[in-house]
Amino acid sequence: MGKLFAVVVTIITVVSTAIFIAHTWWLPPDISAHGHAIDRQLSETMISSGVLFVLSQLALALFAWRFGDREDGRRVKPFPGGATPMVVFAAVLVGAEILTLTLVGAKVWAGVFQTPPDPNSLQIDVQAEQFAFYFRYPGPDGRFGATHPELINEASENFFGLDPARDTSARDDIVVPTLTIPLNRPIALTLRAKDVNHAFYVPELRIQQDFVPGLTIPLHFTATQTGRYEIVCTQLCGLGHYNMRAYIEVLPQAQFDQWLKDKAAQQ
């Protein structure tokens, strides 16, 4: 029975690890300026914790194989050196690992979430609601109109609660359901929620952030590849949660400028 256990645990360990190593299922290619740091952090954690995983599972398998009761009158053997050396070894090893991970990881995290956005960033307002995202650009005047929750009206497509009748800066605001951004230009999003918690997740951008009603949450990134990617909501937001998504369209600067001009003209 011990040998069977050892074999099963070994097979499980080898197969699980092999799939990780082969990247059979893996992260989609990174399209952000900051993503490589996250990917590297993930790979380093994968290697160091993978070694721990394989070693502990194999030790378990080996001991189960070796130390079955064979009724041979053999006496049990204590673990060499007792608990103390092992405890010290484990504490130092794991301690060193988490120290490294924290030092490097905190820098990566700070690079994404604790640095102010580039002052030349393109400012875009994001409104999340059950079950859609809307994006607002300031329009030619470069200023966002004020929002009034009581004016929000789905039927007239006033998703942000703008008041163009009285508010001049709101008149030229561009509101679209797809996030269109220029390549290689820092983007600064301002996240607001109309009703409940939502989240902004673009796997390719390596970015995820909750929307919290009542809070205004900044988020910034730079996309380094053109293309069309999905934005999905990862915070349980109600019945249509699974269907809450939008697209992010990364265009070369020239194309983006043209797009913005066309949109402004339509206002």
Binding site: W25, I98, Q114, L215, T234, H241
Partner: protein, 592 residues
Amino acid sequence: MTHATVAGAHRHAPPQGFLRKHVFSLDHKVIGKQYLDLALVAVCTGMILSWLMRFHLAWPETPIPGLAKLSPNGAAGGVITPEYYLSLMTMHGTIMVFFVLTTAPFAGFGNYFLPIQVGAEDMAFPRINMMSFWVTLVAFLVLISAFVVGDGPPLSGWTAYAPLSAVGKDAGPGQGVGQTLWAVSITLFCVAQLLGALNFVTTTLDLRTKGMSLARMPYSTWAWFITSVIGLIAFAVLMPACILLILDRVAGTSFFIPAGLVISDRLQPHAGGSPLLWQHLFWFFGHPEVYIAILPGFGIISHILPVFARKPLLGPRVMIACLVAIAFLSYTVWGHHMFLSGMNPFSATLFSVPTLVITIPATIVTLLWIGTIYGARLRFTTPALFCLGFVSVFVSGGISGFFLAQPSIDTYLHGTYFVVGHFHFVMGVAAMFGIFAATYFWAPKMFGRMMNETLGKWHFWLTFIGVYCVFMPMHYLGLAGNVRRYSAFTDDYLKPLIPLHRFITVAALFTGAAQLIFLFNLIRSRFRGPQAPDNPWEATSLEWSTTSPPPFDNFGGRPPVVERGPNEYGIGSGARGVDYGMQAAAARVSAR
């Protein structure tokens, strides 16, 4: 320690009559079994819900026969609607976390064995103990009633994030009556567990028999003791949080609901509340709750593994120290659930450090188990196999914690199946393996009958391989960016992952079916199993010094006198003779 005996002698005459004996019993053993039976009902309910969800995820269009009858609205024509999927998920999580993973390893086995293991006749406050169970039962019934009352069960997840959980009916079906029932149920559950934990702590502190110093307590008792201390703090925080949630829902207050919310085209009549406040209160409870689920498992494994290794546990004092360290640290890490919640990003770093530090005691505990097996004479009984399986799945689940504890990586993995795989391994499967080990180990004591070993081994192998097939692929899904809490994968980038989901579903159905073997074994052996001797496993702790099952007052009116610790295995010559020392001489119990 005279109190337990003298005061107990007239306090505890065996009850007469069916009701007093089996239903409204004050006997901790009956209450423990009631908790376990409740957990069994709950776990079957929770598992059926997970089957429905898994089936729907793999074949979203295929109707499930009979389901339309159960829920005409939620599954018209047998196909689960997106909102009903979320309801099933909410109920699955709530039932499993509260009514299975808390009631079985902690309230159930703890109630039955903690008093016996410290040599007491009963808990310190039997009446409060009975109340604890009955309030738990009412809480369970209140929760389950959400299936039939109103518009169905709530759909805001077991974490019930506000404002989705706080605004009421506008947020969807089930967010009306269903969510209120949920909040009432959890409030009651908190009260029940506080009463239970009060008993556990007092019994451990005050009712230990002569010679049972703290250092001589079995590890399972230690774990239940530490768990109840965690529970006293955790449930004492969740309870007021739930009360505030109920008030937001029914009394129009605004604790968690900010101003200006427009839900279902209706401006909500609330202002000024803080959604993050709910998250903080919830996770201040929620993370320690993870340890409430798993620490009894730690204790159970540390208790059982030496029995079948025929070897003392490696580093007993280190083990206790690690349990205490984990309990302490568990209160400093709740923010790691909220890295991306919009709280100050700087605090993410602060919360990530203790989260990573907690891996040190967890690693040491694991190594102590593995080190205990070294040089052992392992007897591969079913409980022993589940102990070994526990170590394996705990390692697998614990390792992925390294990823999620780092905010930078959590940025990518948060909200994906990686998290689902992680917590199912580490607190779901590992805790279940602890429960299985405990059941096979203690069933002879509890029912006086042995469970069938062959069936037990089949159950182990199928479950062990099954859970790896179910939960390991979830890590791959998470790496590929597969988001959780989705009832269907309509997104373009998720479609290629559907085959892997089908594999998981098939594995989950098989693993679930394997549990029928357990159920059959459990029920059959309870009535038909061979008579169990007093100490079938040759173990040392006090429960094995009395009869199987123990008499009403546990030791036949002669409390044991403890002479040594629980760790006396592998002593003697090593020949076929006796290789262990009981904590106390066997008590003479006349009445069976």
